[in-house]
Symmetry: D3
Subunit: 123 residues, 6 copies
């Protein structure tokens, strides 16, 4: 059964709902999900850059793309990879340089997301 989550849900709740629906999409289109999963794994794995740096790049692109669901994902992944608030703030600065006013708006969303995920992890 498919229910929908309000888009004003907290970022952790948004993340949980997106993960559910990605599971549903994976059932409906297994080879698509396998392809995307392979791309995700290759792009995130440590190489010349470590995973933390890669997640900061992904988060900055999420901000410049104005994608709240992506902010939920990559804020969580950046924190799990060990990114500090200061490093995230620096990445947001580059996003604002490259995205102007709209990126400033979504940079503030990341601040919300960081607080919410930290609250959960500290809970």
């Amino acid at each position: 059964m498919s229910t929908s989550l309000p888009s004003n849900a907290s970022y952790p709740d948004q993340l949980a709902h997106i993960q559910d629906q990605m599971g549903a999409l994976g059932n409906a289109a297994p080879s698509l999900m396998q392809g995307f999963g392979g791309l995700h794994k290759a792009a995130s794995a440590p190489g010349a850059l470590d995973t933390k740096t890669k997640e900061l790049i992904a988060l900055a692109i999420a901000v410049s793309a104005r994608c709240d669901g992506c902010i939920a994902f990559h804020t969580n992944d950046a924190l799990k990879a060990g990114a500090s608030r200061e490093e995230i703030t620096d990445a947001l600065g580059v996003a604002v340089l490259m995205g102007g006013g709209p990126a400033m708006i979504y940079a503030t969303h990341v601040l919300d997301a960081v607080s919410q995920f930290e609250h959960i992890n500290a809970g």
Copy 2:
């Protein structure tokens, strides 16, 4: 009187509200709405491609443009034109190829929208 609808409204409710506001915009700017309406009609009418295929294209662009209101519109129109869940899923796959992670997020929104419109139509 203009009221605003929460953006976490269900997709059918979002659609109803947008249609109301497009009516209001049409009153304020009739020639603009007439021009847009003519473009919409020409782009959707069956030709070398049928309306269902055209709506699947519009839906895939809505996903790659990260536009929830557009997802409300074109999920509804695709279903009304006879698109199946499987066809919609295939169109979402192309959107993910062309839009990466953010398109994956909005592809999951379409799954929400499909369930909600089907629930109404079955109601």
Copy 3:
């Protein structure tokens, strides 16, 4: 303490929350905020174009960028600079020409925002 505001908040409430979080970002990254503030001031100051016209341009870009937080900001600033509903509607028309269907959706969001800010100002 950082709390998050539902994204289905009214545009005036969205604006208030964004301004709070921009304050928080300014504390964390003062030189970034100073740079952005300087750019914002230079771009908005009356010159060959007056501030009202500049705010209408910013609002039209906000619509074509599909950014609700930007709509909160620049609807408010356009109204404060003396823009009328008719002038805003004309600017939305150009945004629709340059942004197609997704811009039509976000143009209707501006109608919501105008009503909400006018309601507050009349309160």
Copy 4:
């Protein structure tokens, strides 16, 4: 017969080629072109805002959308509607505020386009 024009053509040459190809598209899809033409006419006609202001808005959106062909079109139309270099520069400033670094790049393209169209008109 369809030939292609180098994309490094001057903006006036780009404009001429696009107009040719829009003619070809109009032959292939007359109702589409009629719809788009009606939208273009409605969005550009003087109303609460004059045509010059509307063209400045369109040009600023062209810059924030990073579209060189659009810059060819709307630089020409803005100049024909009587926009001065100073007014165009002010509109570019708003585009940079709303688009960051990429908008700065395309703002410099507009400077190229203005010089090229002025050169032709003075020729």
Copy 5:
């Protein structure tokens, strides 16, 4: 040895150069290219929609994303999958509806690309 191809190259020449450089990227980042290749294959394979329809969707997204290299790719793939000029024109119409003026510009690029690829295939 890496040489660069002028961006005003014909679409077939652009395609050849991009394919060369994708080969170079594949050597530098094999798992990334394998992931992307898997996603591409899954998204293009015939399923509920045939490959031709999927390529028309990809081409329409390429237009709305204003990406000339993508136009080179997906015009070629759409033609190879059997798409007619009339079907491509219909897909462009939906792109214009969803992308406004900038999509109109890039729709004319597709007309250039179609002519160039047909010229080669007929050669």
Copy 6:
């Protein structure tokens, strides 16, 4: 005197021309350029992240924004900040994950740009 540079110029030549035109824009709009310069300096300065990492983020956003002039700028700045080909390739991988097919196209442009700037620096 304003001349225009072919857009098929090499990335180093594109960079030189953009820098010239940014100088011209700075003369026409000094406070705008001062604001943008302050933002650029704040966003690039070493902090919690070093300049190299910040330039890799900017380059990845340039790719996902499909902006060739930005690629000219930030490839050069990334190389000057000490980024290796391997680090740049890793950043491109994240851009492809977040931008799909169009990002793949512009990732290949970065390979062109790297080769051209290295050729000059080795010259």
